[in-house]
Symmetry: C2
Amino acid sequence: MPDFSSPLESFHAVIPAGGAGTRLWPLSRASRPKFLLDLDGSGRSLLQQTWDRLVDLIPPERIHIVTGAAHADAIRAQLPELSSLFVEPSPRDSMPAIGLAAAVIGARDPSAVIGSFAADHVIDDQVSFAEAVGQAVAVARTGLVTTIGITPTGPSTAFGYIESGDLLDVVDATSARAVATFVEKPEADIAAAYVASGSYSWNGGMFVTRTDVLLKHLARLQPTLHAGLAAIAGAWDTSARQDVLDSTWPSLTKIAIDHAIAEPVSLEGGMAVVPGAFTWDDVGDFAALQDIGAASSPETVWIDADGLAIAEDGTTIAVVGLHDVVVVRTPDALLVTTRDQAQRVKDVVAALKDRGRTDLV
Amino acid sequence: MPDFSSPLESFHAVIPAGGAGTRLWPLSRASRPKFLLDLDGSGRSLLQQTWDRLVDLIPPERIHIVTGAAHADAIRAQLPELSSLFVEPSPRDSMPAIGLAAAVIGARDPSAVIGSFAADHVIDDQVSFAEAVGQAVAVARTGLVTTIGITPTGPSTAFGYIESGDLLDVVDATSARAVATFVEKPEADIAAAYVASGSYSWNGGMFVTRTDVLLKHLARLQPTLHAGLAAIAGAWDTSARQDVLDSTWPSLTKIAIDHAIAEPVSLEGGMAVVPGAFTWDDVGDFAALQDIGAASSPETVWIDADGLAIAEDGTTIAVVGLHDVVVVRTPDALLVTTRDQAQRVKDVVAALKDRGRTDLV
């Protein structure tokens, strides 16, 4: 029996680092994804901030990042302490990424518990974050796949929700409850009802689970994917790693962990949720970026105007007679929109792709 | 008695080329004024287009430009045929500029008629323009100071108006009327009444007059200014020109020709107006710039949006969910506003001056 006298003993963090963040164009690009950017002016990229939160809890060698080949060098440059980088031959969504890490970590340490944390979210209040992770690990050791449900600060329609069920009885995780169901981004009136009920939290995509539990669920629910990951993991610590990876990876089912595991397992009563009382945001668009404290360029001239105006190239922006505007200037592009239209910025990226302007996306 | 068998014999054009055009910031700057810019995408600057209109009527040596020292080289570069450039030591508004040219031209040719034409207006329909100038010269020879009143195409509140009085009886200028009065930019309802009446035309600042008539009015109405200009003109074609110019110019009364001559002389019955049926605009702001046909950069991505988007540096602009927007990007600055706020762009220039950003204005 392993010794769990230290609560986070054998706990590993897995950071899937992918996704361009097309709603933050032109700041974020395929070649310069959101997680590599210092979006809040803190001096640290979102990925570095994620690392900082985790390295406060566990040693660097237990923090694993899964990313595409295009970003491996940039990630290594931003995180010199990083020792475990899984490089995917191609993007297959979050389940193959997390599943690969789980299979490799579990083969090395059968008692391991892993937690997945997005590379491009912001979290404030490290004490609450550490408390939630500690509870989630305690629950996960009992065999439940556990998520951290973020306490809503308002009826957001930008996030998915988790409905809590019965209180569980886990030592060191007295707030843990069963997950009743996961729900997709709701309409405004439904979101308001969720928040008013007190039974719903935001789904921040943080899943904590024993590797053996995860892999058993995967073997049942996605057997083909499980077999592929098992083959790759079996070769991982051998000289055959790259050959098996290259031959097997492209055939893996492209699916998110939410759909592959969280939703079906919650219906079977196998998911738990612990509360996260910290401030959290997935920085999904420029309105969110402003809300997390991103500041306009200090040179900006506002004449009867307000909003967010960023000149990445240090030039001077002037806005006249427009409110809640969003202006983002890079050396090669410029976005002009408003806070309430910010979700549609992804349409610009789609339009540029249609025009063959891959240099700009 | 001079021979006026050619209607434009002894007719000289004077182009005062000054004014930064602060409502067109950041395209126009103190160092790169509106008249030097190709604002309508025609391939010719506004000054070059003014030159083209006049050189179609009279030989280049009878076209005179008055400008500040800062722009002399740029003007010579744009107009290689130009032979007569008056360089002002400092800006003293339009009356000293036109008065100096009148005094020098009149000293050389006592029968001269001059017409003043702004360097930064656009006019379409050269045939109508030539017709109006021909009528104005014919009226001016009778001793009246004559202006060309532009037939309004709508109740603009951006221009001053000229009220016409009685029909005059001038051979070769059968449409000429006395000027009843000049009025400043009106409110919208008053402008609508003006246009409905049929008695009002727009004041395009085009004044045509015998030099001796102009100088006699000036001697009466602005004797100090007249004396200064007479001293400079007397030395102009001598080696003392620069000395007298430098010592006398700074003391000249700073006043526009409208206030020094046109308004008081109209009250005395000494002003005439001939109709100008051409399309005219002073390109006063970005709304006007769009109206005269300036096009958005072809690369612009419009997502549920429209307006004018100019990227002088060739980069790609994307606008999402904003209508009648104005976006102007230069290498060092960016303006975001709307058509109906376009007049307030001058406030940006004022704010930048307040901040000491003379590099940007």
